[in-house]
């Protein structure tokens, strides 16, 4: 028996959708039956983040003494699970002398911020506003 997108939306807990959508970009939309949108987010946002890493961008740490670094860390955190995998795998150390360092940072930060918009959109869908 096929379950429609509307039925999935009614059944989904909005807070679970927020959590899943943040941990893995697009997963909230997939859970809600928005397959096409979910697939775009699942692929595009991590690819964008990994391009940022390949460009020698830095995953910023939380540093209370520097508000700009903290804001960048918050933006990076928006990408979810990958942010936490970066430490153990040694990703995102950043190479400030690399020509592409600032480009890498732009990719990393914007990927995280875009995922926060995706999370908000998934919440709206789960609440039946869209």
């Amino acid at each position: 028996m096929r379950v429609s997108a509307a039925e999935r939306t009614r059944a989904a807990n909005p807070f679970l959708v927020i959590a899943l959508s943040w941990v893995i970009p697009g997963l909230g939309h997939l859970l809600l039956g928005r397959w096409r949108k979910g697939l775009v987010f699942v692929i595009a946002l991590p690819v964008m983040f990994f391009i940022g890493l390949a460009l020698e961008g830095r995953i910023f740490p939380f540093q209370a003494s520097d508000i700009l670094v903290t804001l960048a860390a918050l933006a990076d955190l928006g990408i979810g699970l990958i942010y936490f995998l970066a430490g153990p795998f040694g990703w995102g150390a950043g190479k400030v002398t690399a020509v592409t360092y600032e480009y890498g940072n732009a990719f990393l930060i914007v990927a995280g911020l875009l995922n926060l918009l995706v999370v908000l959109d998934a919440y709206d869908v789960a609440r039946g506003r869209k």
């Binding site: 096409r36 775009v40 391009i51 480009y103 914007v110 875009l114």
Partner: protein, 57 residues
């Protein structure tokens, strides 16, 4: 990969793709809006580049 224009194009592509997918529901509207955004990014970047040309760092 240090070609500045290529990086600009790649960045614009991904941001336009996500925004168009997020903000429009109909596939045809998504494509139109995505192309508009992408073109806007490229044109704005080139225009700003030319405007900044007389002011080298």
């Amino acid at each position: 990969m240090a070609d500045h224009f290529l990086l600009l194009v790649v960045f614009s592509f991904f941001v336009s793709l996500v925004f168009a997918t997020l903000m429009r529901d109909d596939p045809r509207q998504q494509i139109r809006f995505g192309l508009l955004l992408f073109g806007g990014f490229i044109v704005a970047a080139l225009a700003l580049g030319w405007l900044m040309y007389p002011f080298p760092l």
